[in-house]
């Protein structure tokens, strides 16, 4: 089957730049314009921008903690009017089914769930398999489990840590590794209430820094394409910019990705001792080519914060709105906290909003800054269209700023920053760069050979509307969205690495689980068939 998109403005910073040209698809894959062939299907996309499908590298879309948040907050998504449901369960608010539809309608075709606890991998993958249309991936959480911490304490070889990391990534079908407040969840179980980069975990005597550096090295040695994904210590605390700065300095020539940097952009100035350090952090990021970051932008309204940073979530209980929370001390790297929260346009909310935008605008290289709200922690991903508008229009920022707390905004540089993202920069930040960061060579661009994940947006003055309702979206060449509505249902895949398990490590894991949990290893692992969909996974290669 041959499909042709005619007359659009193609924006593809990787292959061919920006120009008016046709895009050709054969059997789900992009091809160079064929000689002397006629397309079976032609779409007139004049007046539209044509980009690769967008990729979200950090959005909590499925798994145990997300599901617990649903359980805690049934009222959060109760009052929607039914729209005509041309696709199954797409009216079910905050369901996996709706998640896939809403992402697709905005032109997103790949989304990474960044916090999969290894022991609950099956649950996570069951949910992801029920997210239609888009491709998914997960990052496996490491760095708080007794096995890792014991290896480090006992000075075991780095090869053994590599074998363990490879076994976790392979058996949980992850695309990468994330470390969340390294060591803090283990320390919290020992009643430690605050934890910084050079604090040590009781029992193990290992510092948070040592955990991060060891995992960073292991991920690099294993050739895992995505650099270690780090959720730093001290999230959300006034003065956390120092922690972020220390972590940025700790890259030491090896790549590191820092998640939701906005939540660390805080200093201790001002009457409320809560100020913006975004300009300082942006400078540090600009000066360190080994670091990439995503923002975790705050937008206003009700949300539910979901995090495996159990220590931080426990300290946030007092701010819960409404007043109900779940705090879970999980096995190993599991657990976390669910704390409902309402971002108000008050001093704190205004400052957080501005810090995120400052980071977006002051970090100069769109290849190293990623577009996220840390869904749903800073805002639900459905706020993306408004966020695109804020980045692309200084006027829109001024208009919103006028509604917000002036004292807070005066402690930021936001008003003086007039940068506006170009469409090319948006294409880098939300397509090309995420594909490169995750090691996904087959997407993020529109060059021949890439899978035909394409988002077509009708150009207009209303930037938010343009990105809220894609004119056309193709997933692997299937037309799935027309005029902002899902028109065709299909099932994407979950992208995973598949490093071969080391035999001695498997034996070690069997013994470990038998001894410490009284259970055989098959309680913690699962075959692909447990997902009950045809070929639920697609393999991504490690770097050699």
């Amino acid at each position: 089957m041959l499909t042709r998109l005619v007359g659009g403005e193609v924006v593809d910073p990787v292959s061919g730049g920006t120009s008016q040209r046709d895009v050709w698809i054969r059997d789900g894959v992009l091809i160079d314009p064929p000689q002397g062939e006629t397309a079976g299907e032609t779409h007139d996309v004049s007046g539209c921008v044509v980009m690769a499908g967008a990729i979200d590298i950090h959005s909590h879309i499925g798994g145990g903690n997300v599901n617990t948040a649903r359980l805690l907050m049934p009222e959060h998504h109760a009052a929607h009017l039914p729209r005509p449901a041309n696709t199954p369960l797409s009216n079910a608010g905050w369901s996996t089914f709706q998640t896939g539809c809403l992402y697709a309608q905005m032109g997103f075709t790949t989304v990474v769930e960044p916090a999969m606890a290894p022991y609950t991998a099956l649950h996570t993958h069951l949910e992801l398999a029920d997210i239609p249309i888009i491709d998914k991936a997960t990052l496996a959480i490491l760095g708080n489990d007794d096995f890792t911490l014991s290896l480090l304490r006992n000075g075991k070889s780095s090869a053994m840590l590599d074998d363990y990391v490879a076994w976790v990534v392979g058996s949980t079908r992850a695309l990468g590794v994330k470390v969340i407040n390294a060591g803090a969840a283990a320390a919290f179980k020992e009643n430690v209430r605050s934890f910084s980069l050079d604090d040590t975990v009781p029992e193990y005597g290992i510092s948070s820094r040592k955990i991060v550096k060891s995992l960073q090295a292991s991920v690099t040695r294993l050739g895992i394409p995505h650099p270690l994904h780090v959720h730093c210590n001290n999230l959300g605390i006034a003065g956390s910019a120092d922690t972020a700065a220390d972590t940025i300095a700790a890259t030491e020539g090896v790549p590191l990705h820092l998640a939701h940097l906005q939540f660390y952009g805080y200093g201790t100035e001002g009457k409320r001792k809560f100020s913006s350090e975004a300009a300082r952090l942006a400078e540090l990021v600009n000066a360190n080519p080994d670091v990439s970051i995503d923002i975790g932008q705050v937008m206003f309204g009700q949300t539910v914060t979901i995090s495996s940073d159990v220590m931080r979530q426990f300290t946030a209980i007092g701010n819960a709105n409404p007043k109900k929370t779940v705090i879970m001390d999980g096995d190993g790297n599991g657990g976390g906290g669910i704390v409902p929260y309402r971002y108000k346009q008050d001093y704190y909310g205004s400052l957080q909003w501005a810090v995120g935008l400052e980071l977006f605008l002051l970090i100069t290289d769109p290849w190293r800054v990623y577009f996220t709200t840390d869904h749903p922690n800073g805002a639900p991903f459905t706020a993306y269209p408004e966020l695109f508008e804020l980045l692309m229009s200084s006027g829109a920022r001024d208009a919103k700023s006028a509604e917000l707390n002036t004292t807070a905004l005066e402690l930021t540089t936001l008003a003086s920053v007039r940068r506006e993202y170009t469409v090319e920069e948006i294409a880098i930040m939300t397509r090309a760069a995420p594909a490169r960061l995750l090691g996904l060579k087959d997407r993020g661009h529109l060059g021949a050979g890439a899978i035909a994940d394409i988002a077509v947006y009708r150009k207009g003055r209303d930037i938010a509307k343009m990105f809220r309702e894609a004119a056309l979206v193709f997933k692997n060449g299937d037309l799935v969205v027309k005029n902002g509505k899902v028109t065709h249902y299909r099932w994407g895949k979950t992208l995973r690495l598949n490093p071969p398990p080391d035999k001695a490590m498997v034996k070690r894991m069997k013994d470990y689980h038998d001894e410490h949990y009284g259970l055989s290893l098959d309680w913690f692992t699962f075959p692909d068939s447990a997902i009950s969909r045809d070929e639920p996974f697609a393999e991504v290669k490690c770097n050699s």
């Binding site: 499925g62 997300v66 599901n67 617990t68 649903r70 359980l71 805690l72 049934p74 998504h77 109760a78 929607h80 009017l81 039914p82 449901a85 199954p88 369960l89 797409s90 009216n91 079910a92 608010g93 905050w94 369901s95 996996t96 709706q98 022991y119 609950t120 099956l122 649950h123 069951l126 949910e127 029920d130 239609p132 007794d146 179980k189 020992e190 009643n191 029992e203 426990f314 109900k324 779940v326 705090i327 879970m328 001390d329 999980g330 096995d331 599991g334 657990g335 669910i338 249902y489 410490h516 949990y517 009284g518 259970l519 309680w523 913690f524 699962f526 075959p527 447990a530 009950s532 969909r533």
Partner: protein, 363 residues
């Protein structure tokens, strides 16, 4: 051996499917009682959305109580694995269902290898009547209770005493408990939906919150029934809501009173009851005016059912995925005695394909 019946007559599977599909298509208000694994539940909910029906679990009342603890309150929890490894002080709360006794007894033979690593001691806080007395005896648990007090009352007294507030009467065992608490770095309260009423479960979480002001403590939630809890979790990701959810115009709503399926049958709101049970040995409750379709692990037609179709049991007749409270998450089950009996999902898919429109289900 027959696998499908219309009334009490054995028929071909195809005839039973056609007949059941007709009943589904003509029903004004179909309600479903679910009691199966993740994949059976997924397919059933997809069908229920299409039909505009409502669903509940066969153990809907106790499950609703467990769900309410989360929807109304929340709390602090840990896993059985973490409790086994880290907790030297375990407090059983009220009645713990028999299904969990083996696991708890197995902990008694182990020593914590994390945290304070102290020798494990057991307490049992309870109301007057307690069926868990045998378990408590086997574990040599110290009794925390007082005559005339309900479990909720005992928890309230314990909470007050631990805060050094005046109480009208003290709990037996309290001094021993204070000593144990002072020694343990990670005390864990083990409870279930069968432990007590909803305010009692909330009171327990209040007590745990108090203990976490200065030290650490948590709870292990052992569902009254693992499969029921698994159904609630599956329902959550599929619809955003736990069980006792209904659809109108493909919009789900959650209402533990309105969509209490047994109530709907009693009050004659439902005209068709689909009983989905792969547990084995369970039959749809009699009574009411609703017609009954039974998909169950059976060798005989369900008495009173318009249509009965035999299904297999996940983890026995075919592979499956079920919630396991031992690990606090889902577990893949391999068939232990593979048989040709179809899965619930298989039958539900055939039903969907026999409905007008013949659209395939999303799962």
């Amino acid at each position: 051996m027959s696998v499908a019946w219309i009334g009490s007559q054995p028929v071909s599977l195809m005839d039973a499917i056609q007949n059941a599909a007709k009943l589904l298509a003509s029903s004004r208000c179909p309600v479903f009682t679910l009691d199966t694994d993740v994949h059976g539940t997924r397919s059933a909910i997809a069908l229920i959305e299409r039909l505009g029906g409502a669903y509940d679990h066969a153990l809907g009342d106790v499950l609703a109580k467990e769900v309410t603890l989360f929807t109304d309150h929340g709390g602090m929890f840990t896993t059985p694995g973490e409790a086994r490894r880290r907790s030297s002080l375990i407090i059983l709360v009220g009645d713990i269902p028999a299904a969990h006794h083996d696991m708890l007894l197995s902990w008694a033979g182990t020593q914590p290898d994390l945290g304070d690593r102290g020798k494990r001691t057991w307490f049992h806080i309870h109301g007057e009547m307690n069926a868990a007395a045998k378990l408590a005896r086997q574990l040599k648990a110290v009794s925390l209770g007082a005559e005339g007090l309900s479990l909720g009352g005992a928890l309230a007294v314990l909470r007050a005493q631990l805060q050094d507030r005046q109480v009208a009467r003290s709990l037996g065992g309290i001094e021993q408990f204070r000593k144990a608490l002072a020694k343990s770095q990670f005390p864990v309260f083990v409870f279930s939906g069968t432990s007590g009423d909803a305010p009692g479960l909330a009171m327990l979480q209040g007590l745990i919150a108090d203990l976490n002001r200065k030290g650490r403590a948590s709870s292990v939630f052992l569902p009254a029934d693992d499969d029921a809890w698994g159904t609630a979790l599956t329902s959550l990701w599929m619809t955003g809501f736990p069980t006792r959810t209904g659809f109108s115009n493909s919009l789900p709503s959650y209402d533990p009173v309105r969509w209490d399926v047994q109530r709907m049958i009693r009050d004659k709101e439902a005209d068709l009851h689909v009983w989905v049970s792969s547990r084995g040995g369970e039959t749809p409750p009699r009574g009411g005016t609703a017609a009954v379709i039974s998909l169950s692990r059976t060798e005989a037609p369900a008495s009173g059912a318009a249509v009965t179709i035999a299904v297999g049991k996940p983890g026995v007749d075919h592979d499956g995925v079920a919630y396991s409270s031992r690990i606090g998450t889902f577990r893949a089950l391999a068939a232990t005695a593979p048989s040709p009996l179809p899965s619930v999902a298989n039958i539900v898919r055939q039903l969907a394909n026999s409905l007008p429109g013949r659209k395939a289900l999303p799962c």
